[in-house]
């Protein structure tokens, strides 16, 4: 990647063992200044370990961590230019909100009134103006989260580390905080590193995302690229919904491939649509997202290149959307097993949703397919 400024965080060949357990397996990573970066993966993939390594709470077995160009090997957590928002928020229960926010200012040489003004300013930034005198234990989950943010940001760290900060909030609150965090990050311009297992959260908030499995980075990309061009079946499966159909490679030349897909027919795929990540035993697969295909009403035509017949197997109504599980005509052609795929359609107000058992037509274009070798 061409970026002339030096990275804010750099991890080189990071290895971390807990006894025999290999938690981080050679992490190479560089995070730019001012970036909103996410570490995404299922639980136990090492994302939190990596965050704690950056914060200085975990030693590393091998490799190096650099923050703002400085080696962090001998720098303890309390001297690193990072601050963390903990998953449990870690609000000090014996201190008031203002005392919590001012905790890190003890060695700041500024006079008391100035510090008090800083605290008030930090609280205002997170929307908690006037809450300074409250007892910490009297706060709601969302408010605790904001106090934790104010407490970290008041120290103007170079990097703010967020360990699943939204996982304890209810859905409405979480969506609201996602937007607020993005705004806050733009406002303060600090590099944010977020750990999350929620792919939607990562897609909404991040400039770039590193998807981790079993202590390794499986793919590092911008959200759009990650969603549209997943590097492996596993990444594709983890991020959003992806349909998979077995494919037979008919021809391969100059990076292009021609594949025969039961139910969809023969398609020609350019290099950009072929993922060459470690193949698994299941053979070549074609993947596509539910929203890339369109269910046609009788008599309706589409600009999309191809059409396929199918029968509705299941209808899952979501209010704004409906998911249809479809059995593709001719999908059993290759190995005798009929396959269903999931298609999503935005509901149009006042129009009936087709019912189970209806024969329908699907419109799609080869440009939305990804071939996994």
């Amino acid at each position: 990647m061409s970026d002339d400024s030096s990275p804010m965080i750099e991890c080189r060949e990071l290895q971390k063992y807990y006894g025999d357990y290999h938690a981080l397996r050679g992490i190479d990573l560089s995070i730019r200044e001012g970036e909103f970066f996410s570490l995404l993966g299922p639980s136990g993939c090492g994302k939190t370990t990596l965050l704690r390594v950056i914060a200085g709470f975990e030693d590393i077995s091998a490799g190096a961590v650099l923050i703002d160009g400085r080696h962090m090997e001998d720098v303890p957590a309390n001297r690193r230019p990072t601050n963390m928002v903990f998953q449990s928020y870690a609000i000090f229960p014996h201190l008031s909100v203002a005392e919590n926010v001012a905790f890190g200012l003890r060695r700041d040489p500024r006079p008391k009134p100035e510090k008090a003004a800083m605290v008030e300013e930090a609280l205002e930034m997170v929307g908690l103006r006037g809450y300074g005198g409250r007892a910490a234990h009297a706060l709601s989950g969302g408010q605790r989260q904001r106090v934790a943010l104010a407490r970290a940001l008041i120290l103007k760290p170079k990097v703010l580390l967020l360990d699943e900060p939204l996982s304890a909030l209810d859905r409405k609150m979480r969506e609201q905080m996602q937007v607020e965090l993005i705004k806050l990050q733009r406002q303060v311009g600090i590099t944010f590193v977020l750990v999350t297992h929620d792919q939607e959260e990562a897609l909404v908030m991040s400039d770039r995302i590193a998807v981790m499995f079993e202590g390794e980075i499986a793919q590092l990309d911008e959200p759009e690229a990650l969603y549209a061009r997943p590097a492996s079946r596993r990444v594709a499966d983890f991020i959003g919904v992806m349909n998979f159909l077995p494919a037979r490679i008919l021809d391969e030349a100059d990076g292009r491939a021609t594949a025969d897909i039961p139910g969809l027919g023969v398609v020609d795929l350019p290099e950009g649509q072929i993922s060459r990540a470690d193949a698994d035993d299941s053979g070549p697969m074609i993947g596509f997202r539910p929203e890339t295909m369109t269910l046609l009403r009788p008599g309706q035509t589409s600009q999309q290149a191809r059409e396929t017949g199918a029968v509705i197997d299941e209808v899952v109504y979501y209010g704004d959307m409906t998911y249809y599980d479809l059995r593709l005509d001719g999908s059993a052609r290759l190995d005798g097993k009929a396959r269903t795929v999931r298609i999503s359609m935005r509901n149009v107000f006042g129009r009936d949703v087709p019912c189970v058992g209806t024969a329908v037509r699907l419109a799609w274009s080869p440009g939305s397919l990804v071939l996994f070798r």
Binding site: A90, H94, L155
Partner: protein, 290 residues
């Protein structure tokens, strides 16, 4: 029709708690009331005259000997409390923070081992250790470090403090351990993350959060030690009486029950006042909110 009196559930509850309640009343309240009423009666030498008087209290509150012994008891138990809690804290801290989780219950078990022998025997053993021909003196003379046995290690306040501090150690370790266990470990990481080193994190986070346990330890050690009878008798050699010894003398040796009762009630009041003062001070200065 409106129900009158207790409903069935409440009646059942009262029936259930009645036996222990009556038992507690008989064992605790009745003796206290007896002592309280005795303290207002007149001593007729070897008998109690049923006449109301405040003379006993007048005597207790003006007698310089009582004052000396009372102050000594307070001083000794304060010292014992200080020593016990200061020594118990590192032990509790070690078990809570350093010992692996699966080993913690074993450590707690080990801490209770001294309780497998009776209190009296443990006190006796300290006499054996500290005595004129005791373990310490004979080892030191045997090694040629001292020429004649040390006499300042037995029959004085130091030895009383040492013995009581040992006897009450688990009572201090356990509540502090529980308080430390309750501390969310991420709070300590947050302290470090916000720029404080380990020592300052301990001072600003761990210690304030452990205070409820420390306060419990202080009260649990202070209240029984002030009335301790055996240790001053054996380890103090009877030369350094504490308030319990004085009460025993009045009650049994001199058979002056009214005066002994007044002493006992006074001691109880002093303990109550000191404990309440301590709690109030804590609330005021440490602001422990949990």
């Amino acid at each position: 029709m409106a129900k009158r009196g207790m409903d069935a559930e409440a009646r059942q509850g009262f029936t259930l708690i009645a036996p222990p309640f009556i038992y507690a009343l008989a064992i605790l309240a009745a003796p206290i009331l007896t002592i309280l009423s005795y303290s207002f009666l007149t001593d007729g030498y070897l008998e109690v005259v049923r006449e109301f008087t405040l003379d006993n209290y007048r005597q207790v509150w003006t007698d310089p000997i009582v004052r000396t012994v009372m102050l000594r008891s307070l001083m000794v138990s304060a010292l014992v409390t200080l020593v016990t809690v200061v020594l118990a804290f590192p032990v509790a801290y070690y078990v809570s923070f350093m010992v692996r989780p699966e080993r913690k219950s074993m450590w707690l078990f080990l801490i209770t081992i001294p309780f497998w022998t009776s209190y009296l025997i443990r006190v006796f053993l300290w006499k054996v250790i500290l005595g004129y021909n005791g373990v310490i003196n004979s080892s030191l003379t045997g090694l040629g470090i001292i020429d004649e046995p040390l006499t300042f290690i037995l029959y004085n306040v130091n030895s009383i403090v040492l013995t009581l501090a040992h006897a009450y150690a688990p009572f201090a370790i356990l509540p502090i351990f529980v308080a430390l266990e309750k501390i969310d470990r991420s709070l300590l990481e947050a302290g470090r993350d916000l720029g404080e080193n380990r020592l300052m994190t301990f001072w600003r986070v761990t210690l304030p959060l452990a205070m409820p346990g420390v306060i419990a330890a202080v009260l649990i050690v202070f209240i029984p030690t002030i009335g301790d009878y055996v240790t001053p008798e054996l380890i103090g050699g009877g030369k350094i009486p504490m308030i319990a010894n004085l009460i025993q003398v009045q009650m049994l040796a001199l058979d002056n029950r009214p005066l002994g009762s007044a002493l006992a009630v006074t001691a109880m009041l002093v303990v109550a006042v000191v404990s309440l003062l301590f709690l109030a001070l804590n609330r005021r200065f440490l602001k422990v909110k949990q």
